[in-house]
Subunit: 344 residues, 4 copies
């Protein structure tokens, strides 16, 4: 049994981790931390968890965790993660970090879009936790930077086509739409029911911080520098991301070559399902770790449109984090994650 803790367990990614880990056959969840809720039983805070988790939120304490667990999922805000993760690593713990703090290889990019990095030396040790791209490195990592939700959906949509050099790398536009859990559980006017309900909006147009994360990974796959346009939107629903991704096809590339690229790239991927021209809906992956992909070629102007759907809390955060833990311990990638999506 792997003994694990969750640091920062009171938010939506935290409770999603608890939900998943409570049914994982090889995990014992030993501790959950939360500064704000310390001392409170988690099933008082989330009554859905009664009979599934009886832990009490505790203050984060690296020494105490080191005595009790093997691995920590850190679901802390950016910057708070940077303070805490090194403490855990020093004590010999493995870490899957759900913040952005360990996703970048180049500290300059991180610092341009976020803030100064306190432990840039750790960035080269950290592995970007997208199994379809970095399965082997994750297997031997002690520190995994768990991907952002939007990047997961966009990178998986494009990797096969950039890898196969089927599209122009500078022509990419990713128009993404997310449910509201992506904004976290903090109370704000932005997430007030009546400000979201019956409305649809774009936000952070041209300036969302997931842009460089997507570009880092796509550049790696493409073998050349990729710059994209990325626009996130807010959908009046709780869970789910759909990314509509556009790119110009290179001369002579056909729809069947596009399809073959997807099929060969994801041949053994347990959590990618290919839908071909039947483009997917977010409903078909809700509550699961799947990324479902569909695509069509617009022959009139030689573009390919890829539709990529995930559950932002599961595949876009906590499910993928558990996947990464499985790989770090040599377990089957999908252990504890193989339940069917929630429909309807």
């Amino acid at each position: 049994m792997i003994r694990v803790a969750i640091a920062g367990a009171s938010g939506y990614t935290g409770v999603e981790l608890i939900r998943i880990l409570s049914q994982h056959p090889q995990v014992e969840l030993k501790a959950i931390t939360s500064r704000g809720q310390a001392g409170q039983r988690v099933d008082k805070y989330y009554p859905s968890l009664r009979r599934h988790c009886e832990l009490i939120f505790e203050e984060p304490d690296p020494d105490s965790l080191a005595q009790r667990v093997d691995l920590v999922f850190t679901a802390l805000p950016h910057q708070a993660a940077m303070d805490f993760v090194p403490e855990l690593l020093q004590r010999g713990l493995k870490v899957v970090d759900l913040s952005a703090d360990y996703r970048f290889r180049d500290p300059n990019i991180y610092e341009n879009w976020y803030q100064p990095h306190k432990t840039p030396e750790l960035l080269s040790r950290a592995v970007y936790g997208l199994p379809e791209l970095h399965r082997r490195e994750i297997h031997s990592a002690n520190l995994v930077g768990n991907p952002g939700c939007y990047p997961t959906s966009v990178i998986l949509a494009l990797a096969p086509l950039l890898f196969g050099k089927l599209i122009h790398a500078q022509s990419i536009i990713a128009d993404s739409k997310s449910g509201v859990t992506g904004a976290g559980r903090g109370a704000s006017l932005t997430t007030h029911f009546c400000e979201v309900n019956e409305g649809f909006k774009a936000y952070k147009v041209t300036e969302h911080r997931h842009t460089p994360e997507i570009e880092q990974e796509l550049s790696g796959v493409a073998g050349e520098s990729v710059t994209i346009t990325f626009t996130p939107h807010l959908v009046p629903m709780s869970r789910g991301i759909l990314s509509s991704v556009y790119a110009n096809l290179k001369n002579g590339i056909s729809e069947s070559q596009v399809s073959e690229a997807f099929q060969s790239f994801y041949l053994d991927a347990p959590f990618v399902r290919l839908c071909g021209t039947e483009v997917p809906s977010t409903l078909q992956v809700r509550g699961s770790n799947y990324c479902d992909l569909g695509w069509r070629v617009d022959e009139r102007n030689r573009r390919v449109i890829i539709i990529s759907v995930i559950d932002n809390l599961t595949r876009g955060a906590s499910g993928q984090a558990v996947c990464n833990m499985n790989l770090m311990y040599g377990l089957p990638e999908g252990l504890g994650l193989n339940t069917a999506p929630w429909q309807p």
Copy 2:
């Protein structure tokens, strides 16, 4: 392994059964039938099920089912069930029927509220499948009439108080609110998104057919005839029922006696969670087989208000049906049903 089939598997209770059974450790799902979808793969029809179920809908054929399975879940419309269930029983199959056709002991009541019954003689053999009331009879039954969704939520709210004779049996009002999956998957103006969304309404006031079903079971528990007022409402959400149940307390009955009645009645119930005065929300049971119950006494006019929440598709239909199957085979009541609710 129990070999099972689902008849009428293309609706919402059907797909919920497939979702649950696909992760049940003691079940092999061998066949699914649907007249309308016969010949189609279920994971084409419900893409969420890809990699979880590869069965093809087939025409319902009792002989063929009898050769391949031990038990059939019949998720057919009222009246269609009456035609099919006897065929299955004759061939030695066990049946859990999700229609109303085998829920009533008295054929007259059924006929007053529904239509003529074709096999009234079977009603005395059928067991009403509410485990908290009829666990033992279910264990030895071949035919279980699986309870309606509203009745499940209302009966569980009142059984302890009527059993303990704490309330006036003729004072009961049940004001229930359901998500839209309760109306089934058939396309109609009633379930059109824009007719439901941003609205709230009551329907079938004073004439909903779940009324006599609730009364039958409550009368049994109370040991006297119970007549209730029942009003269903439609909530703009997919899953969940909340019933607000009102009754007049008998003289001298205190809030603590009410609490004790709930605690002793549900002492060993794996799927009832008692919340006391912290009344529950439907969100905390979504996707699960739980019924969560809270209550308060209004001392100003000596009424007790019980708030009861379930997921109408799981506890109110398919989850409870699997529970009944477990009991029929002597398995633990919660086998295959022990995942945490979906939140958020």
Copy 3:
């Protein structure tokens, strides 16, 4: 032209007042106040109002308002209203107060459910602003206590039956369901989209402060003391209240007597629409000042069930406030309020 101001204009009832007043043919909206937003243009804060209102939020100042306006709508929190309203009255202004501070005739009841009252002597001068009950007194009032949203829906459902002595006054149960705007615009976990969406819950069971307000008015109509059980619920939608109201019919009272009572009581009411046994949905009154009423008799246990729907922001707050202003100035009750509801 009536010159008016709105104090506390930045919340949902404030912006609803601006929306309505901006199309009122006899009103000039001269000032809007908000401590939090002072200095900001309202159409920056609510972009929907561009080209409809160009006012700038100002600090509340009774002297300044007295020089510019005739009447003030105070949309302040309870207690803040008590501080501000007397200042306005002293300067000769008329006031329609949307808080609870001037709704009660008996200061003891207010103090039992709210807090100490600072100007109890004003309570006898204030008129409860429900036109269907107090049209004449409103006409000559300087201070109107605008009714709460739930009370508006419940009182209108019961007044004809209590006035006609058709029901037992102690048998009343009001089960009410409200959209989320009823909780105001303040950011909190309670109104977070993902805590509300896809869920349904009751709150403040047995202890909601609208209870004594309903009882005061019903007692007045009935000519005897009325004590009710009132349970509010939260619906995942923005606007609308539906109240399901239950009462025991007196001996010999028939459904047609019930219908006649409604028809004669609301004979000349421009904003009550009677639906008979076709019980109404909240969607049919959205954005309007209507209260639509339907009813049915449950002969099996001699109860009447009344279904009452309003838009909580319009009829339950700002529309009714404008109605009261119209009456205070001898204008037609519906002036500026006669647009059709929003459907779909």
Copy 4:
């Protein structure tokens, strides 16, 4: 007073027309037709309209209409419009047609994307009813082809930039998202609440029939042939369209030139509101005839992103139709349409 009728008045655009026309000071609505609902009072069918419209649906009869009205709004399905509109024109009536049948100048384009056209000779007489582009021609038209909902939002987003030659005409991608009223009121699985709610999906990728309509108008403005990629999506909300439109800026074009283009193009447009870099939400135009536009330049790859929002039923259909009627009769463009949007 203009005497008008609505043919095909039972759908969502029909009831929206009734809502708007019922408060228009220069219109008398004399007749509404519907084959399906003939004989029924409209306020029985749409209870929201009680006290606002007491008409009875009648069978469509051109002779009868010609005796009673001056203008007909035809809200019929494509193809049905083609049969009925010529009958009306022959009898000297003016027509605003809300179908696609009279939007195209080139019958070949219509026939490629729709079906054979029965009266192609009328196409040259019909005017495309987008006031910002064709105000003068509408003024003298007898037949207006009212624009599609998506085209309205996309064309208004791009016209200033194509007119000013600031963008590459072949680089345009329009990623549009619509509420569910856009799918009409017909019952189908596609519009079932539980198939839409909590999900987000794209549909008709590369093949939606609004594509050539957008291209026709953009080509006209640009003075060159424009081919676009257009992807529609379905948002779980009732009303609203947001289009995110992408184009490559020509060399040397700056963000301020983009802003100036919008400002000069829409200088006198009563129903276009410019938001600059504060990109708009659909909520701020709900229930109104506004198109709100915001834009940003992505300097990293020299693209402009325009966010365009409308209410699909008002600006995208019925409100714009009334606007066109106003222009046809020399009335102020906004007469009867000047109420503030619905928020929240």
